[in-house]
Amino acid sequence: MTLWQLIILASIVCFALKFAGYLIPPALIQRPTPARVANLLTVALLAGLIAVQTFGKGEHLVLDARVSAILAAAGLYALKVPFIVVVIVAAALAAGIRALT
């Protein structure tokens, strides 16, 4: 499978999910449990991605400049600093640590 085919397939699936919600009768899944699972899936996948992006290097776990960057990012989000600023600071911090070590 080429990257293009993969991108097209994944995009179609995501659109189909949205459209499905307009086709199925609301009573079928508009109940607390499916909604809760859908919301928590978002949380779990994002948290999993953060862990892999922060500690993963191929199939190994490493502690490097990314750890300092994500901790700084968490602190800035807690202080309600805007998203784009936090992302830039995190990148700059990681780059700075790499340049110095």
């Binding site: 097209i8 659109f15 998203f83």
Partner: protein, 243 residues
């Protein structure tokens, strides 16, 4: 359309939220190119997939595992897009009738449009809020994705500039507004620990999917969940991006 105070408020909210979140497209564009996609592929994702969380997940898995992680990439973006089904159900009586209208509405069904819509008092204002927010985010998100992708192309080497750390920080920005309840916090911590511990054991992309099991278990049992109150009535957080 005759304007009332309610629809004017909805219009303003839509534009404000749309402009604010569109700015995040820059990060997506730059990180997508860093993950190995070209500018066209990056723009295609924002145009057609158009759901930020899934887009970020997709490029995150590709960055970690390349084409070999294709099944995980599709599974991650699909699972992250699953809440759009719930949003669509909620918007179904709001958006209007007709096939074209509902196809277009489906495409614009994202966190922001649903959040603005559900915050409006009247049906007409809900409809205006949905469409205005969806359209502004769509246009802004795609323009800024292109800008970000072009910047990413110019930058080149990823790790020297800390773009890999930027990706983790961007994911954290999407996650942050969703962590208000204890249940969500517990799921986030356990999912992160599971994904990290499984990284040396499983092929790239799969650890994140296994972490999703944590969500299913908590979701089905409502472990640590609020005792009363209807979570489905809760508006999606809008500090993030179209996701």
């Amino acid at each position: 359309m005759p304007e009332t105070p309610a629809t004017r408020t909805a219009l303003r909210a839509g534009v404000a939220v749309g402009v604010a979140t569109a700015a995040y497209g820059i990060s997506f564009g730059a990180l997508s190119v860093a993950a190995g996609l070209d500018v066209w592929q990056t723009c295609f994702l924002s145009l057609v997939m158009f759901t930020g969380g899934s887009q970020f997940a997709f490029i995150g898995v590709i960055a970690a595992g390349g084409l070999a992680a294709a099944p995980s990439a599709i599974a991650s973006s699909t699972l992250l897009g699953s809440r759009n089904v719930i949003y669509a159900l909620r918007m179904s009586p709001v958006v209007g009738s007709g096939w074209f209208t509902r196809l277009a509405a489906a495409h614009l069904t994202i966190d922001e449009s649903v959040a603005v819509s559900t915050a409006q008092p009247t049906l007409k204002a809900q409809r205006v809020g949905f469409w205005m927010t969806g359209l502004v985010v769509f246009v802004g998100w795609n323009l800024t994705t292109l800008v970000g992708a072009l910047i990413g192309n110019l930058i080149g080497d990823v790790s020297a500039y800390g773009l890999d750390a930027a990706a983790a920080a961007a994911f954290l920005g999407l996650l942050w507004p969703r962590l208000k309840q204890l249940q969500a916090q517990a799921v986030a911590v356990l999912a992160a620990v599971a994904a990290a511990l499984l990284t040396p054991v499983l092929t790239p992309g799969v650890p994140v999917l296994v972490a999703a099991i944590v969500a299913v278990v908590f979701g089905l049992t409502n472990w640590l969940g609020p005792k009363t109150g209807d979570q489905t009535a809760e508006s999606p957080p809008i500090e993030g991006m179209p996701s």
